[in-house]
């Protein structure tokens, strides 16, 4: 136990913490918690199954959409009255009406509720190409006792991530190359067996974590002639031990973010790693893509959080021999694994830092007269190294968007207060509603420090013309984080397609990059024949000493276009070129996958590419991990 808490206090905090997470994510706790195991894989399989309620079943399609984002029961729709609502019970927004969404949607995109572009309701198993099986491999897997399947639905589900083109194709009922088989190892040793067998029979393995990839990383290379096996890590989801002396936990890599936090919370801890996809993305996936969480300012990005990684490669298992907090032993081998995107092996177990759950959390928001001032403020906050757990700056279009997502009635959004605030900001302060932008804040820590910290941040903001805009606006912003991903599916019902993409960029170029990329998108859309002006907006989502992470949202109405996805791809391509030309990186956290491979050479130089290649050649000479990401 951490010394500064007594146990009842800890329990109280844990309870509170659970509520907060549930507040972010879900209405009710979802099923029973995952248990912590100190034993290893040898535990009786049956025993394990009976005692663990997994949030992710093997047959994911039972609870998740096969052609869209998230849980099947949760989605946006326009009801008979033309009002938007969010279905299901899981989220704070669930069951609520969003009265302004329709106008915003129609106004922003020139969309019309009469013009629908519905998805095909389902695809028949016969649409999915029959599996090309390596019989010897199948026999050996069967003998090893590792569960597997070659059912069409299981295979199709693991053939994609969440890029626009992937989801669009599914909605049209188009299925390309899919894995020929899925295996569900239960533990590290199972993975060792599978990898050995794959090497022995020359089968292509593609690790599959949460399936939230947005870089075409999970796509099966169409040129692959071998049997492709998707290695689904979801059943490796136990926390094997917690070390309270060193504040570390040893965790199986298939655990998804929400389970990890939930289970740790029960013991009063958290990792603090909260990528927006944390409901579904997995620890192994984070390691494999160098993921970044919203609260990295306190807890760090994934590379700061891992202490020890175990990865199974065709050459054997790679891991370090101790858990020292920092080492000088040549190049850090973790950095070959972090960001390897499933090209070298399967991450099976990870030792991660944990922290006691913070005593106190507080949201906040600041409105700035302009994006320029907002960025200047973030820069100053970064300079003074006093960024709160999370700080995000939305541009004006996103601010408007946020407004469109206001639910009808809700205890925390009394419209009276809203009206008053709007009046105050736009009239009294002379803020131009078409220029102002908003920053949302999340503070964490002990109460006193949070309040102190809060004051410091608001004082800085005031110097840049920022006006505190209340806790509610901030909280709403963070709550929306998890439902925004559902919105794309709604758009796609009405001829609107879109995507987000990100970069990191030095401070001095943030504004230039934002402006140029947004404008490039608008211009490219026009040139490519898009009939309506696109939505092209951005937010600054992370601050660093030397720069920031910028996130773009881009969507447009594709009515009248013969090949909307192609147009989309061209525009995104142009936007990426613009990012690179303006000093931005190829990716801050989404990774490279196959989508951004073409820019690797200019991004890391020929020699750099050669270094990565030679590692791949040594570790996996037969290209067993043949997803062809990155290189």
């Amino acid at each position: 136990m951490a010394s500064n808490y007594n146990s009842s206090e800890r329990q109280r905090i844990a309870q509170q913490r659970l509520k907060i997470i549930a507040g972010h994510l879900q209405k009710d706790g979802d099923g029973q918690p995952v248990r912590i195991f100190a034993n290893d894989c040898k535990a009786e399989a049956t025993d394990r199954r009976s005692s663990v309620a997994r949030s992710m079943p093997k047959r994911r399609q039972e609870i998740m959409k096969w052609n869209g984002w998230g849980y099947s029961d949760s989605r946006f729709l326009f009801n008979k009255k033309g009002q938007a609502e969010f279905t299901g019970k899981r989220y704070r927004l669930s069951g609520l009406i969003l009265p302004s969404l329709k106008d915003w949607f129609e106004g922003t995109f020139g969309a019309n509720l009469q013009h629908k572009s519905p998805a095909v309701p389902s695809v028949s198993a016969s649409t999915v190409p029959p599996p090309c099986l390596n019989e010897d491999f199948v026999q050996d897997v069967k003998a090893s006792g590792v569960p597997y399947s070659h059912e069409a639905e299981d295979r199709m589900f693991r053939a994609h991530g969440h890029c626009l083109h992937e989801i669009f194709a599914l909605r049209e009922g188009k299925v390309g190359r899919v894995p020929d088989m899925v295996v569900w190892p239960n533990c590290h040793d199972d993975v060792v067996k599978i990898v050995e067998l794959a090497s022995k029979h020359n089968v292509c393995l593609i690790p599959y974590g949460g399936g939230t990839s947005v870089s075409s990383a999970l796509e099966c290379p169409p040129e692959e002639t071998r049997s492709i096996v998707s290695l689904d890590t979801s059943q490796m989801n136990r926390i094997l031990w917690i070390d309270e002396k060193n504040l570390t936990a040893h965790i199986e890599a298939g655990i998804v973010g929400q389970d990890l936090e939930r289970v740790l919370n029960e013991s009063g801890y958290c990792t603090g790693h909260e990528p927006d996809s944390m409901e579904f993305s997995s620890l192994g996936g984070w390691v494999a893509t160098r993921a970044s969480g919203m609260k990295k300012n306190i807890y760090g990005n994934i590379e700061d959080l891992v202490i020890h990684i175990k990865m199974v490669t065709p050459r054997g298992v790679i891991e370090k021999g101790c858990q020292g907090p920092r080492m000088s032993m040549g190049p850090d081998i973790h950095h070959f694994i972090l960001g390897s995107e499933g090209t070298l092996g399967v991450v099976t177990e990870v030792t991660m830092k944990i922290r006691p759950i913070p005593e106190y959390q507080k949201y906040g928001s600041v409105v700035f007269p302009s994006f320029e001032q907002g960025v200047a403020c973030l820069r100053e906050i970064a300079k003074q190294r006093c960024a709160p757990a999370s700080i995000r700056l939305m541009d004006n279009a996103q601010f408007q968007f946020g407004h469109a997502l206001k639910p009808q009635v809700s205890s925390i959004f009394t419209s009276f207060l809203d009206g008053l605030k709007k009046f105050y900001i736009t009239k009294f302060k002379g803020f131009d509603p078409h220029r102002l932008c908003v920053t949302t804040l999340l503070f964490e820590g002990d109460r006193e420090r949070v309040l102190q910290h809060e004051k410091q941040v608001y004082d800085i903001a005031a110097k840049f013309g920022g006006l505190a805009a209340g806790e509610d606006n901030g909280q709403r912003g963070y709550m929306l984080t998890f439902v925004i991903a559902y919105l794309r599916d709604l758009g796609m019902e009405y001829y609107v397609i879109g995507e987000s993409f990100e970069t990191s960029v030095p401070w001095d170029r943030v504004l230039d990059l934002c402006r140029n990329v947004k404008e490039r998108i608008v211009r490219e859309c026009k040139e490519k024949g898009v009939q309506f002006p696109p939505m092209s907006t951005c937010r600054v989502t992370q601050t660093y000493d030397a720069g920031a992470c910028v996130y773009f949202y881009f969507a447009f109405n594709y009515r009248g276009l013969a090949d909307p996805v192609h147009v989309y791809d061209q525009v995104e391509h142009a936007a990426r070129e613009e990012i690179l030309a303006n000093g931005g990186s190829l990716s801050h956290h989404h990774g490279v996958g196959k989508l951004r491979k073409q820019w690797m050479k200019e991004s890391i130089s020929n020699v750099g590419l050669g270094m990565l290649k030679s590692v791949k050649d040594f570790v996996d000479p037969d290209n067993i991990f043949g997803n062809r990401n990155l290189l």
Binding site: D508, D512, N516, E519, R520, A581, G583
Partner: protein, 666 residues
């Protein structure tokens, strides 16, 4: 030989040009005062409200760019940064514009009066104005007018005010500041002043470039400057200067703006206010210092008729589109953008090509009045010719110019003889028609000396030449081909090309010939000649047709004065130039050499007396290594390679074909 497809693309005759409106029309029918005081609400860049001129100075002084250089200079000079900063402030004070609407209104009023007195009409293409308005709204705009007269820049602001467009800030030479009152007036109408030369002065450069860039980035106002750097005394476009163009493109290269629109503008004068002034200047009469009294003398001018003016606002050119595939902006990713550094070779050649392209756009959109065709005919008949013949030839030339895509403003409804007569009348100061014969005006009857008589005659010739020069760009490429056909060894395509290449190289300071575009230029020249039936292509040969004879001889006749002029310069160097000749001595020396030749040999090459031609020839000889600059003590002297100079002279004289090796690319 390249494909026909390329030819047809370059067919200038197909280019559609806009119609014109006379803006003086309304001025003649309504109150100038009301016009000067009317409500003025221009469209601004992105709807931004520009900051105050004084705020601008603060932004510049506090910019990272300027601060960086201040620190650098202070370290180098051992001065405190404060002192250097003061210096920077002084530079800025000297430079900065103080654009004021009231001054513009003052000019709107007075210029209305003046323009109505001077000109028959001031005609503007309104579609160009609309395009410009759109461009100003979307991106920072750079206005690039041609420069033939002092009044160009007042004219520009006047037109923009008239159309309710954002008023530009204008880069002007320091010499204006010599005229106390006028300088300040110009400053208040948006002029900012730059020293003519500031060689290695880092601080000056930093302050100056940052000043311009700040105005551009903030969308403060359209930036206006003259690509040609100075007024062209010959009315030929001058080869572009790159400094300011570099500066205004830099914010795009560095990602500070999404795009920059460059707008070439062609201002054509039917009669240039300064015409004989220029000729005198070219002949070595020192130009009157830009003094207020000098300008006031211009009052006399007010009683003359200067015909009409055309202002053509060209298609805005997007730097971003031009740079596509040529400029790698990530070049600036690894060094802070405020640290000054030399641009890469690709960038330099890109800026250079762009500059040439823009000057060509200016040329192409120059409106040509009948008089320039008449002048072109007269220049080939310096002894005069019958009015009837002149008319016939002018009409013939009109047809040819039309076929070559010239932007002619010829009154179709008027009979040709009337057109010619009225042109002659307008230019009565240059030509006279007596007894059915037209000739250039002679000087006073009994001159003090033969030199003086020659000088007087030369003023007339050079003035007339300046009108011919306005139409030169239309004929330049076919004319170079025509001369190449005469001098080439054989009529084989590649022989003709190598002669062409040689000539093009010799004349690349004289005319607007974009470096690296020799193949395109040759193709364009050949294409136009093929199109008008002057030549035929028989297998590998370019053959002159019967119909083509007069065309080709006229075309080569057009270049004759230049060929002769350059030969005179060559002769000067091979025969007379003394050891240790300095650059400074060169112009007077070559001039008196030419005077002697003309007087003793009865040559008619008056253009050899033009300092413009002399300077261009010097640059060509240096470029072709026939001359070398030698630094000795504090002097730069010219060292002659006599063999090389002679070879050039002979080649230009047609005695020896160009010995340039054929390019494999053909």
């Amino acid at each position: 030989m390249a494909s026909k497809a390329l030819y047809s693309q370059r067919d200038p005759a197909l280019k559609k040009r806009d119609d014109f409106e006379d803006i003086l029309d309304e001025r003649r029918n309504s109150s100038d005062l009301r016009y000067a005081l009317r409500c003025y609400t221009p469209v601004l860049y992105k709807g931004m409200t520009p900051c105050k001129a004084s705020t601008l100075k603060t932004i510049v002084l506090q910019s990272e760019q300027v601060r960086y250089v201040i620190n650098q200079v202070s370290k180098e000079m051992g001065e405190t940064p404060d002192i250097v900063q003061e210096e920077a402030l002084a530079i800025l004070e000297e430079m900065a514009q103080r654009l004021q609407l009231s001054t513009i209104r003052f000019f709107a009023f007075t210029l209305s009066k003046a323009f109505k007195a001077l000109f028959q009409s001031v005609r503007v293409n309104e579609e160009g104005i609309q395009r410009l308005q759109q461009a100003i709204h979307e991106h920072p705009v750079v206005l690039l007018p041609s420069h033939r007269s002092y009044i160009d820049f007042l004219m520009m602001s006047y037109v923009l005010y008239t159309y309710d467009l954002a008023l530009p800030v204008i880069a002007a030479g320091m010499d204006f500041l010599g005229m106390k009152f006028v300088g300040e007036m110009l400053r208040m109408s948006g002029a900012f002043f730059i020293r003519r030369s500031f060689g290695g002065d880092k601080l000056y450069w930093a302050v100056f470039s940052e000043y311009v860039k700040t105005m551009l980035r903030n969308g403060y106002a359209p930036i206006e400057f003259f690509l040609e750097g100075t007024r062209s005394r010959t009315c030929k476009s001058l080869t572009p200067k790159l400094g300011l163009l570099n500066i205004v493109m830099d914010p795009f290269f560095k990602g500070e703006v999404f795009d920059v629109s460059l707008v070439p503008i062609s201002i054509s004068y039917e009669r240039v206010l300064e015409e004989t002034l220029y000729a005198r200047e070219l002949l070595g009469v020192p130009k009157p210092k830009e003094s207020t009294s000098g300008l006031l003398k211009a009052r006399r001018i007010l009683s003359e008729d200067y015909g009409s003016i055309h202002v053509y606002f060209g298609q805005p050119v997007s730097v971003r589109s031009l740079a596509q595939g040529r400029i790698n902006r990530s070049e600036y990713n690894l060094i802070p953008r405020y640290i000054p550094r030399k641009s890469s070779e690709e960038t330099q050649s890109f800026v250079n090509d762009t500059a040439y392209m823009l000057v060509r756009r200016q040329e192409e959109n120059m409106v040509l009045r009948p008089w320039v065709l008449i002048a072109a005919v007269l220049m080939q008949n310096l002894d005069g010719l019958d009015l009837e013949l002149l008319t016939k030839q002018t009409v013939w030339l009109r047809g040819l110019a039309g076929a070559f895509g010239a932007f002619l403003d010829w009154p179709d409804q008027t009979p040709a003889d009337k057109v010619v007569a009225s042109s002659l009348a307008l230019h009565h100061g240059l030509v006279q028609a007596t007894g059915g014969r037209v000739r250039l005006l002679e000087g006073p009857q009994d001159p003090a000396s033969p030199e003086e008589a020659l000088f007087d005659q030369a003023v007339g010739v050079l003035s007339c030449a300046s009108y011919r020069n306005q139409v030169l760009h239309v004929f330049l490429r076919p004319a170079l081909v025509a001369v190449a056909l005469e001098t080439a060894n054989t009529s084989r395509n590649d022989d003709v090309y190598s002669s062409f290449l040689y000539l093009r190289n010799v004349f690349s300071n004289e005319f607007i010939l974009c470096p690296g575009a020799s193949v395109q230029d040759f193709e364009e020249g050949c294409y136009l000649l093929l199109k008008c039936g002057a030549i035929q292509m028989l297998q590998q040969d370019l053959v002159v047709t019967e119909r083509g004879q007069p065309i080709l001889s006229f075309l080569s006749g057009m270049l004759e004065p230049f060929l002769q002029g350059y030969q005179v310069v060559c002769r000067y160097f091979s025969e007379e130039a003394s050891e240790g000749l300095t650059e400074k001595q060169y112009i007077p020396a070559v001039r008196s050499f030419a005077v002697k030749r003309i007087l003793s040999e009865g040559l008619k090459c008056y253009e050899a007396l033009s300092s413009d031609l002399q300077k261009n020839a010097l640059a060509a000889l240096l470029r072709m290594s026939a001359l070398r600059k030698v630094k000795a003590a504090d002097q730069v002297t010219l060292k002659v390679n006599t063999m090389a100079v002679k070879a050039i002279e002979d080649t230009l004289g047609g005695k020896v074909p160009a010995q340039k090796p054929v390019l494999a690319r053909l």
